[in-house]
Symmetry: C2
DNA sequence: TGAATATAGGACTATTTTAGTCCACATTCG
DNA sequence: CGAATGTGGACTAAAATAGTCCTATATTCA
């Protein structure tokens, strides 16, 4: 229902936890305990996040995970991309030409632009913003998105 | 994947079609033909939209459907509400207190505010905007949303 | 070198959601 | 009455999601 999956939500909790212990490596178990999430689930999330380049990992006895960049430099859009695949509010908005109804569809372009607008907004929200709820930033202008030329990324 | 269901997408096509024939009643079959969607699917959509008060219906031989209001007065947010239930980007953002992890979750409030911000943006986009791609309008300011007091509606 | 600790990768299953179809009923018109 | 049209709900099939588990690989340290 226009909603992120639970995993993405959990993923932000995991990342926020890593941000809270910045400077040292945290093991999967430690993160699971701090967030009260299941360890296998946290493990899966950290693997996905590592593959996406949002966290870095060290194997072995003193190993663990850490943010790949500062919390300032990780956007909400990146987190969603990493855990949900390509950002697209509708199936049609993932890419032009995908939908065979497109020629009869009067609304595809509009949704694609709204999609792009929301995405740009999420790009401007960082992990630091998510956990601290402290700073100001620019919003998606949907009406404007509908009048401009380029469709969503 | 942070996406609307196909039905919602189809629903906007159906509504756009009704908007295009404003002033007269359109039958389910006629709408299905114009949009190239399956008739049972269109029927289901129109029933849902009627129940939500976005379209009005007349039974009987000369019956059919029409928009309950002008296309200007129907927002994208209402369409989503009608076809997907309560608007919520995360499960937690539907209502405070739903998630038993909430006390350990550093990010719930932030997502709730982002949710509210996106919703308000979608409220400012009308069906007329969706089909005409013609006018200007205000966007969600996510950063601001994170700093303000009230959470999402 | 070998044991212990961690991550890496992927297979797998159960559950939930979504999409789509169908049928029996109610209403209106001629 | 009977044909056209919406109403309501049940139902099925397909797909996505959540969550678990197993085996392999890397690192550290005694």
């Amino acid at each position: 229902m226009l909603r992120m999956s639970k995993l993405t939500d959990y993923g932000t909790m995991v990342l926020a936890q890593l941000a809270a212990t910045e400077g040292s490596l945290a093991t999967c178990s430690a993160v699971a305990e701090a967030t009260r999430l299941g360890q296998p689930t946290v493990s899966k999330l950290l693997k996905l996040l590592a593959r996406a380049g949002l966290v870095v990992s060290e194997r072995g006895v003193q190993g663990g995970y850490a943010l790949a960049r500062s919390a300032d430099a990780i956007s909400a859009a990146e987190i969603i991309d990493a855990l949900e695949g390509p950002f697209a509010i509708t199936e049609c908005s993932a890419a032009a030409g995908t939908c065979d109804l497109e020629s009869h569809c009067r609304v595809a372009t509009a949704w694609q632009r709204i999609n792009g607008s929301i995405r740009r907004s999420l790009e401007s929200v960082s992990l630091a913003d998510l956990q601290m709820q402290a700073e100001p930033l620019p919003p998606p202008d949907l009406k404007r998105a509908l009048t401009k030329s380029a469709a969503a990324t």
